[in-house]
Amino acid sequence: MINPFEDFKEYPYKKKEIPLDRIVRAKERVMDQIIEGYLKLVEEEVKELVWLVEHNRILKAYSSALQTIQKFDYDVDDIEELCLELDKGGRIPYLISGPSGIYISALCNNAKEQEIHLRLYELKRTFHFLGYRLPEGKTLILEGDLGDFIGAGLSGGKLIAKGSTGNWAGAGMMDGELCITEHAGQNMGEWMSGGEIHVDGQIRGIGKTIRGGRIYQRDKLIFPNYLTSRY
């Protein structure tokens, strides 16, 4: 069969592109950068696959994550996509809940959007430190059950957890609002110095050292009027 286009055999061609292809490719490019940034953070911060929850370590990891993501052009969908990738584990060989949560928090805090909504209820794993240092003006809505240290170091933002949280929720928070629609674990609000925590469900225990702020359970103030140590 004659190819009537033979004269253009050597002509450099470009494939037909529909806008969706371009968008998908751009998304993939961004996701590659984000994953690469995460792997770099893990490599720097996690020695022998052990990551100790220490104040300095957390700060260092957060600063490093913030620095890495500065040049990324991402949006909320990319953050949610990263959570799915971390959960699936296909392109990411290991999930370490602490650094991954800090990395996601850095992405949320640095995102262009003021309101960030992450649907995490289908995930098999949980991330720690989500909402870490959420700044003023940002609202983070997290759907699904969450790990430990949710809203830790909250810095004026509003975090709505539509599900239950693990231990140490709101630990060290300085300002802002943490709303938990279901239950909270132990040591909630430890080292908290400001802001408010609202829990609609049960609280297993609040922190021993709470320096300021308020904690409500079902609209009832339980700190500073804290009377019992266990619910």
């Binding site: 069969m1 190819n3 009537p4 286009f5 033979e6 004269d7 253009f8 055999k9 002509y11 450099p12 061609y13 470009k14 494939k15 037909k16």
Partner: protein
């Protein structure tokens, strides 16, 4: 491979005729060079065995331009070319145009054909072709198209020939050229009035003296043509005499003409010249606009565009007929000839643009309303050539806007047909629809 001597020789022929025999103004520019279109296209016709229709007012050099070119490119004396010319008139007969029985031998019961000079000579000139009635025009169709001449049970086929036909503008004595005949002409040119001052100079020349005439050689040529022997043998004898005539002209008048071997060498060089990507894609774009029909699959003379067609902005909406397969052949061969003459290594878009108006002016049947839009415009060309030039500019503008996209569409189409699963490139031009259709029908 020729080394430029042949090209210089051809340029010298052009220059000699322009300066001494066919005085006229340049009327076209290609790559910074000016040419007279009638002379240039006659030269290219002779070089690549083409067919040219020359139109113009009586007495403005239609026939003489072809005669001079024919004489100098084929080493034939002018008087022989005159002898081979056929004039179109209503009483013209097959016996005068093609051949007649040898009456002496017919009386002895032998059917032997005496071929006309027109049928035998490589330079064929039909003067005032549109004075031939339409019924008689079909008589010369095969001869014009393939160089094949038939009479009684005999046939001769010309191996190398070119044809020039002249036509006056329509008057009471002219007929319309039938579509199959007119399509066989590669190009149409106008032999124009040379302008007041040049006409004055022509008027000062001796009307009987011409350097290309030689009574002695003319008689010798005629003796060969009248011999009763095999046509191909006669042609070999003729060629030997052509060489002697060429030597004589060079020695006596320093006029260098082309030998058969040189003509072949030139043709081989021309045919080797490739079309570059733009020339290729642009020609495809033109063909698409002149053959495409969104509604009926292709243009057909008896089918008309419907109202509200998406492609009303393209040429297919302004034409009645479908462009023939002879059209791209004409454009390619003449563009190659032109590129060769200019010393270029490939056929570019400028060569194609220069040739196109002359290759399509006689082939396109425009719709009446489109003609009425154009005919009152200020112009220097006859209407059909003017419309051809306008058309080329219009398509070129469209091509220029999307040349990369069109070339990409063609490249992607190649890859698709070669087995890569690519989607055809889409765009707003008939060429994309044609490419898509090629791909669909092959799949």
């Amino acid at each position: 491979m020729e080394d430029g001597n042949s090209r210089q020789k051809v340029r010298d022929i052009y220059g000699f005729i322009q300066d001494n025999l066919y005085l006229n103004r340049p009327d076209m520019r290609v790559a910074e060079e000016s040419f007279n279109s009638a002379l240039l296209f006659s030269l290219l016709t002779a070089l690549n065995r083409g067919k040219e229709l020359i139109i113009g007012e009586p007495g403005l050099g239609k026939t003489t331009s072809a005669e001079y070119i024919g004489a100098m490119t084929y080493r034939l004396p002018l008087g022989l070319i005159w002898a081979g010319e056929v004039s179109g008139h209503p009483e013209q007969t097959e016996e005068k145009i093609i051949g007649r029985p040898d009456l002496g031998r017919l009386n002895r019961g032998e059917e032997v054909v005496i071929w006309s000079y027109l049928a035998q000579l490589p330079i064929k000139i039909v003067d005032e072709i549109n004075r031939l009635p339409e019924t008689k025009q079909s008589m010369i169709l095969d001869g014009v198209d393939r160089g094949k001449w038939e009479y009684l049970n005999d046939v001769i086929i010309n191996e190398e020939y070119c044809l020039f036909a002249t036509a006056n503008y329509q008057d009471r004595g002219t007929n319309t050229l039938i579509a199959p005949l007119i399509d066989r002409f590669d190009v149409i040119v106008e032999s124009r009035h040379p302008g007041t001052n040049m006409a004055f100079m022509i008027g000062m020349k001796d009307r009987y003296e011409n350097v290309l005439r030689s009574a002695v050689f003319e008689r010798r040529f005629q003796e060969i043509l009248l011999q009763r022997r095999d046509y191909h043998e006669k042609m070999r004898g003729l060629e030997e005499l052509c060489d002697r005539f060429g030597d004589h002209m060079e020695k006596e008048f320093h006029v260098r003409m082309l030998s058969q071997a040189e003509r072949k060498e030139i043709r081989d060089c021309m045919q080797e010249l490739p079309l570059d990507a733009d020339a290729n894609a642009f020609l495809r774009t033109v063909i698409a606009e002149l053959s495409f029909c969104h509604k009926y699959g292709q243009k057909r003379s008896d089918e008309h565009c419907e109202e509200g067609c998406h492609y009303t902005g393209f040429l297919c909406h302004h034409t009645k007929n479908c462009i023939s397969n002879r059209f791209p052949i004409s454009v390619r061969t003449y563009s190659q000839s032109l590129a060769w003459l200019l010393g270029d290594e490939a056929v570019g878009i400028d060569h194609i643009k220069a040739v196109l108006p002359y290759a399509l002016a006689h082939r396109v049947q425009w719709k009446d309303d489109y003609i009425s839009q154009k005919q009152a415009s200020n112009r220097r060309d006859p209407l059909q050539i003017y419309m051809g030039k306008e058309m080329v500019n219009e398509v070129y503008r469209r091509y220029n806007e999307q040349s990369h996209h069109i070339k990409n569409a063609l490249a992607v189409a190649y890859q698709t047909l070669s087995g890569k699963g690519l989607e055809p490139i889409e765009g707003d031009h008939p060429i994309y629809a044609e490419i898509k259709r090629d791909l669909e029908e092959v799949r």
